[in-house]
Symmetry: C2
DNA sequence: ATGCTGTAGTTAAGAGCTTAACTATTGCCT
DNA sequence: AGGCAATAGTTAAGCTCTTAACTACAGCAT
């Protein structure tokens, strides 16, 4: 591989001049540029990034951090969409994206991750941080590495982007309440493992309280984000609370599991049971029937976070941002049906999609 | 940030000794190691990766290359699963993963991508290469950068991992034929844009020919991998060929779209129409009904590719590998129903899940 | 003429690490 | 005692680039 030296020699100038030409630092003639570029082309010179990084202290590498906490991140479609958003912006800026997936456990730091952050290899980072008690950005703060947080694990002075979880909770609960449901079950995850979900719940609660409904009384089941857990939770809730006419699920995958389970138990969706999701993953739209859910605008979150990071790298101090969400009207919600007798043995033949009954 | 020098000084030894201790090169006493490690801890020393890369010519960075070709890669759930498999192995080895997504277009190389490959920043790469005419690994070959290809875009001497697409095609076609279907429609993508799909088709063809069925005669529609395109293709095929009793889709997303569309057209799945997918993405399992499809073993492919790369980096010459696939028996396939009159207006009320008719 | 400014290019000092080549010491064999 | 091998550690060169400091010189106002 040819080096700067080789190029300089061939062009008949010094290495400093070549470096200037390549980085567009002023003070060289058009003639010189031509000579240098010719030499670069002839030799097929490509700068060595390690040397450049060492000399200039800039690597042009940005870390994208998706911590493994309670959930294997690679099973969440949302991850991919956020990643896609981030990627488009990073690529535009000519940077490279290092994907890091530390195993975060309270009081047991991921040494490899810490080394990476402290190694000077990174110009900045974008981290998902939604779990209380463990932080992916903390090491970046310590090293004063420019960082943007996606989520709630932030401190004063951090730059962050968040989905408007509170509003999402409000919107979905409002939708369900306005359809007339009062006997509502919640499929969520254990307390305090994800702050985004906490805010969704708070949004739901605020709507309930405004309408005089005791949110705390609504039966809950705790899953782990997975489809299977959604099915399990639905089985549990529907068995224990036969009066339920709606299940609000805190993510789409659990909602899809819940729907399948409800069907097995003889419920038609949405006629006998309203089910909602949250996230707006692609599978929710192609589900049958399409899920009523909240679109988080995942690619937008990724793009926004990346843009913000580049602002910071350029010395600006961008404002942190809440990304709005929107309700997707699918076909899994309907008015509650007037107290049917849910005996699984007596599924009537009329359990078909379009029910023309009054 | 403290440097090697600082550590050496504090430990009262030379930088060379510190370097040896840290890299476990022989010839130092336990006593020396203790002193060095103490100094490292006290100073919180972390080696500068750029300097290390420059001096040693090793960066401990592996590129994972998912080219954008005909399809935005971030909308394919399979991507995420392969990525997850790769990630687990790379992390185990203490390497870092640089995610690169070049825009590959014939005769218009992605300059930024080329620079990255040639920049000496990478110790190796894993690339998905399934599209004829454009190659993600080619630059790696030119630079003699250790590489493992996932897919068919290989040359003599390349290391590769492939899913057994031919067998997958055979399995799914055999399954459908054995159920008794003869009027079969194919939902695929345009010719020559993806070699993996070509082999799936060839597998299907071989089975047909062995049974005296003229594969070329089967009606086809061409989508673009997306759910929506699957719906469009199904609409087209079912309208033009009312005799069809089965639709074989070359990926799961198109299958899900096809199923939704078929339902809109009054077909019950699987009673009136058998539909199959391919890939075994998570959404296929949580679909209603669960898709009959081929499990590609995506995480396994990723892991295998990564392991193979590390073998190469250690100087071994691993054997390239075909990863077996398996048929997932979902609930979207059934025996063909004896020539029903598919008038959308006359959906009978008995269109329910369990049909106890003889 | 003198001094100043601005431009074009060079020199050389790092940036922080690895490693080949070297020195020094010890233990062991004959 | 002499020679050799193995061990422990040091010295210093080198990896490739950036950049501050410098030289050289033309153009211009005073």
């Amino acid at each position: 591989m040819p080096t700067l030296q080789d190029v300089a020699q061939r062009a008949g100038v010094s290495t400093a001049t070549v470096s200037k030409v390549l980085s567009n630092t002023p003070y060289f003639t058009e003639e010189t540029r031509r000579k240098v570029m010719a030499a670069v082309d002839e030799l097929g010179y490509v700068p060595n990034l390690a040397a450049r990084a060492l000399a200039a202290g800039k690597t042009h590498i940005v870390a994208v951090v998706f911590p493994y906490v309670y959930e294997p991140i690679f099973s969440d479609p949302l991850t991919l969409r956020i990643l896609g958003g981030i990627e488009s912006v990073i690529t535009q800026h000519g940077y490279n994206m290092l994907l890091s997936t530390p195993r975060l456990v309270p009081d047991a730091p991921d040494e490899h991750y810490l080394q990476l952050i402290r190694s000077g290899y990174l110009d900045g980072m974008i981290a998902i941080d939604n779990v209380p008690g463990v932080s992916a950005v903390q090491p970046a703060r310590e090293k004063a590495l420019p960082a943007v947080v996606i989520g709630y694990g932030t401190r004063e002075g951090d730059y962050w982007v968040r989905s408007d979880d509170f509003s999402g909770g409000e919107q979905i609960m409002t939708h369900v309440l306005e359809l007339g449901h009062r006997e509502i079950g919640l499929i969520t995850v254990p307390e305090n493992i994800n702050m985004a979900l906490e805010y969704r719940l708070e949004g739901m609660q605020s709507v309930c309280e405004a309408r005089g409904i005791d949110f705390e009384r609504l039966p809950r089941a705790h899953g782990d984000f997975s489809t299977e857990s959604g099915a399990r939770c639905a089985a549990d809730l529907l068995a224990r609370h036969r009066e339920l006419t709606a299940l609000l699920c805190l993510n789409d995958r659990m909602a899809m599991g819940a729907i399948q389970q409800a069907r097995l138990m003889g419920r038609h969706i949405p006629r006998d049971l309203t089910v909602t999701g949250y996230d707006g993953i692609p599978a929710a739209a192609s589900f049958a029937p399409p899920l009523t859910t909240i679109d988080q605008g995942a690619p937008d979150i990724g793009q926004t976070a990346a843009r913000m990071l580049f602002d910071v790298l350029e010395g600006a101090t961008p404002d942190s941002l809440v990304v709005p969400v929107s309700l997707i009207h699918g076909e899994t919600t309907a008015r509650p049906c007037p107290v049917p007798d849910h005996d699984p043995a007596s599924i009537s033949p009329s359990t078909r999609k379009e029910d023309p009954s009054p």
